[in-house]
């Protein structure tokens, strides 16, 4: 296993947005109307820089082999690259040991792994799992399924009208019976940054573990699992594809003793120590949770994505997104008929802005913006409880990343003004 100390320190570069954009050739393309692409759907998935694309090609061209098996050169190289990627991810989030990084396919699988491997083993009927009203469906449905199967109690920290969580309620909802608090660090639908300190402190006080859904936070801000929520957490789930890496590679970080206490999620090759006709014994962490041939190439490409973000510096990434978001909040507020959901300041939200345009369905907004090249997401954002609380069927959502510019925000705003004129929005 590669140790963290073996990896070279990453050189920090000044934040040069023109230089960053050159690494993303897709940003130069046109959409079907002929307009230049303005990609503002980063909360759904990010674009990938040439460095990541090159790493995928390099692996398959020069090193491709299955890992953890052969003694031949290619297999040894592939194994080394795969384990180096694990170590890079570990260092990126402040994990104590690369063995605490489990490669999955996405955030959803990471959360399901905890539900199956930890919760099914350790929770009894009547035990409580606490989530919140602003969760993505991937942090709701696995717990509902577990509730129905095991008779646990599922409780929700409610959302306030401004899209923040009701922290007073959270203190009473998390009780002595709470065994796990599974909570997002940032809402994908509204951009709300959740003040994890309060929730983690309360969870610790009652002896509950904390799982953080970091799908929207890890790509966009510094995250250190040792100090997350001040006291640190127990699990962190996130996806590669929202942070410059390919689709199909996800991550679950867990504290080593907790991971060691868990049952495997899936059975098969690579996760066993021994297999006889009667029984099997499990391999050590993390192999225990990586049954079957893993997504080797994309894990290695994730390592390149982590290198890219580390070179920028996650402080710089967050600073850039805060500036863009602050500009966008002010710019969109001037567009006739626009209502922005969620907290009004960029300090307490990530680079996600959900909004509606008076009298125009989000689908129509997205369709007209597409003719301007502006790509946004419309719909319920896999967060139907949030839509229910806001009393809207859907919202339009613009979300930013490292390469977005204020010019692109202007394109969004002027596009919305045109949508308004087209559908006859009155101020």
């Amino acid at each position: 296993m590669t140790s963290l100390a073996d990896l070279p320190a990453v050189e920090r570069l000044p934040y040069d947005i023109a230089r960053i954009r050159r690494d993303f050739p897709i940003l130069k393309r046109e959409v079907s109307s002929g307009a230049r692409l303005v990609y503002l759907d980063n909360a759904a998935t990010s674009q990938r820089p040439v460095q990541v694309l090159a790493e995928i090609t390099r692996f398959y061209r020069d090193h491709n082999a299955n890992i953890h098996r052969g003694v031949h050169t290619l297999s040894v190289e592939a194994t080394e690259l795969y384990e180096q990627a694990r170590a890079k991810v570990a260092r990126f989030i402040g994990a104590a040991d690369p063995r605490e990084i489990i490669f999955t396919h996405n955030t959803t699988e990471s959360i399901n792994l905890v539900a199956h491997g930890w919760a099914r083993k350790h929770l009894q009927p009547g035990d409580e799992v606490v989530i919140s009203e602003i969760e993505h469906h991937s942090n709701i449905v696995p717990w509902q399924m577990l509730r129905d199967e095991r008779g646990i109690t599922l409780k929700y920290i409610p959302m306030l009208p401004d899209g923040t969580l009701d922290l007073d309620a959270a203190r009473s909802i998390i009780t002595d019976r709470t065994r796990l608090v599974s909570i997002t660090a940032m809402s994908n639908a509204l951009g709300t940054i959740v003040p994890l300190d309060v929730i983690v402190a309360r969870a610790r006080a009652v002896g509950a573990l904390v799982l953080v859904d970091g799908a929207q936070s890890v790509p966009h801000m510094p995250v250190d699992v040792q100090t997350l929520g001040s006291l640190g957490v127990d699990f962190l789930a996130f996806s590669g594809h929202k942070m410059l890496a390919p689709f199909g590679i996800g991550i679950l970080w867990g504290r080593l003793p907790v991971l060691e206490s868990m049952d495997p999620f899936m059975g098969g090759g690579d996760m066993i120590l021994t297999v006889s006709m009667e029984r099997s014994t499990w391999a050590d962490v993390p192999a225990k949770f990586e049954a079957g041939t893993p997504n080797v190439g994309d894990a290695i490409a994730l390592g390149a994505a982590v290198d890219y973000l580390s070179a920028l510096g996650m402080d710089a990434v967050r600073r850039h997104e805060r500036e863009i978001t602050d500009y966008a909040l002010r710019r969109l507020a001037d567009v006739p008929g626009v209502t922005i959901f969620g907290v009004p300041d960029a300090e307490r939200r990530g680079g996600v802005i959900s909004f509606e345009l008076d009298g125009v369905h989000p689908h129509d907004i997205g369709q007209v913006l597409d003719t301007k090249g502006v790509a946004i997401r419309t719909g319920h954002h896999c967060a139907q409880p949030v839509m229910l609380a806001l009393n809207v069927p859907a919202t339009a959502r613009a979300s930013f990343y490292i390469y977005n510019t204020t010019d692109e925000v202007d394109a969004l705003a002027s596009g919305l003004e045109e949508v308004g004129r087209f559908f006859g929005v009155r101020k």
């Binding site: 989000p362 003719t371 839509m387 069927p393």
Partner: protein
């Protein structure tokens, strides 16, 4: 809009007219059959109430929420169906689904406004929006009610 041959294909004036002033929307009728339709991906919802007398649609009403395409299509559908018998209504549904596949407006009596939706075929993401009301109508007529979604693979 300037670069918008595509936009004109989709948002024809007659479509926006039905969207802004939907016909047979929320009308109080005494339905003999009803159905609810949903497009779970985008949150479009429509309810279709039909009053059948001797196999003829005597009155029809729709309600719900959705984008301009889904609402305009529902409005047009009700205008077409009203006064026609069940078989003609289902023929309309058949012709509409065919139009969504081919982008060609069928030569059917009463399809004048509806033909404006032919351009939707060029926007695969919006075909479900346009089809929802028709699918819901077919459900209402098929077995006296129930609910449909555009994601059940039945079409």
């Amino acid at each position: 809009m300037a670069e918008s041959g595509l936009m004109e294909d989709l948002y024809r004036e007659i479509i926006l007219d039905h969207y802004r002033q939907p016909r047979n929307h929320g009308t109080a009728i005494e339905p003999t059959c009803s159905a609810d339709g949903a497009n779970p991906l985008c949150g479009d919802q429509v309810r279709v109430d039909v009053a059948l007398v001797d196999g003829v649609v005597e009155a029809i009403s729709f309600s719900g929420q959705g984008c301009s395409i889904s609402q305009a299509s529902a409005s047009m559908m009700t205008e077409y169906v009203k006064g026609r018998d069940t078989a003609a209504a289902l023929q309309g549904d058949e012709a509409f689904q065919q139009m969504m596949l081919t982008g060609e407006a069928p030569d059917i009596d009463g399809f004048d406004d509806i033909a404006a939706l032919a351009g939707v075929a060029k926007f695969p993401a919006r075909v479900k929006c346009a089809s929802l009301a028709w699918k819901t109508l077919a459900q209402a007529l098929a077995d006296g009610g129930g609910s449909v979604t555009t994601d059940d693979g039945s079409r």
